[in-house]
């Protein structure tokens, strides 16, 4: 059951995820792209309420 605070949390999470993905695609340096890619993994799993 999603409580109101969980919904707010997930919205914030979605925003952060969107920014990281935007960063992944605009970043020129490959190592920074890898970092962004790694950061997205836990964010996606949490957004989908898997982990």
């Amino acid at each position: 059951m999603l409580t109101p605070i969980t919904i707010v949390y997930l919205v914030i999470l979605a925003c952060v995820l969107a920014l990281v993905v935007w960063n992944l695609f605009t970043e020129k340096k490959f190592t920074n792209q890898i970092t962004a890619a790694m950061v997205t993994i836990p964010l996606i799993l949490r957004l989908l309420l898997i982990k």
């Binding site: 409580t3 605070i5 949390y9 020129k28 799993l45 982990k51």
Partner: protein, 372 residues
Amino acid sequence: MKKHTITALLLTVVVAAVCVYSGNLFLSLRADDVIIPSKDLTEVRMLSDYLPKLKGTRGDTAIYIFKGEEEGGKALVLGGTHPNEPSSYTSAVILVENAKVTVGTLYVIPQAARSAFTHNDSQEASPLYVHFENSKGEVRKFRYGSRAVNPIDQWPDPDVYEHASSGQLLSGSETRNLNRAYPGREDGNLTEQVAFAITEMIKKENIGLTFDLHEASPEYPVINATVAHEKSMDFAAFGLFELDMYGIDMALEPSPVNLHGLTHRELGDYTDTYPLLMETANASQGRLRGATNEKLALDGKDKFYVSAGELGMLYVPYDENGHPIEERVGRHLQGVLSYTAAYNDFSGTPIVIENVPMYEEMIAAKVGDYLN
């Protein structure tokens, strides 16, 4: 297409692959373990029968009931209060898969904190499963789980957890610890609701004797021990004598009156049951452990604990033989049998449990030998 866009797309594919793989692993933990009850099982209820709002949540869990032909007392065994203490859950499963009750009634909840079976503790490198081969050569698989309820099911943790009925303050993560939530709250969080439902069940069914099975790291002072509410002390001391004669070295510890939320305190205070909590030694949850894997969870062999034992830093003897799951399960099962026998003399409302392996039988066999 620009070079960095190509690399971003490639990384997106990698991320998707990792998410699918790890997501499947995490989701697989939500599938319930298979428990194959003994033919003498008389009924299965759900915890939501005692608190309907638990229905459909991962707080709801099965209650296996063995009713004897003769009326008598009633006992409850709680396994899996902390799933990452595998001898607790395994002992409860062995009871469900073997027990026959001739007098009185036995209730077994193998997965008291069912939600806590659906994830692992972060950064502990715990195994996902433990496996046992039964006498037919089939492999039985049980989840290893976590100490606390899954944050997916109960979120967020407060900075400080305030125990509802006492006002006791604990660290925020303890808010998902079932054994800090008793007697629970009907309108509380999921953990408190589970605790409330178990308390309600004890009251409604008039359960006289309650066991809560646990494990602890070898460096924890209360280990190879039974913690008893003051009202359980007299018969527990008799039960301990029997355990000693079976070669089980067990300490008897009084339940602190000012440590709240635990079964051995709150179930004794808030219900008429006589609660006992038993602890065995589990290296896989200790801080001194080496490689954390299924092998360690099952055989308890760890060279670092052997060294710590030689230095006198542990509260249990520790040598190269470790503390295998058979020994730990044997202690729990013999504890249930011996304390129940002592309770029978004390209360005059007997519970007779048959067909459960005793300590000597368990240490001479494999856990799988007692799984269906």
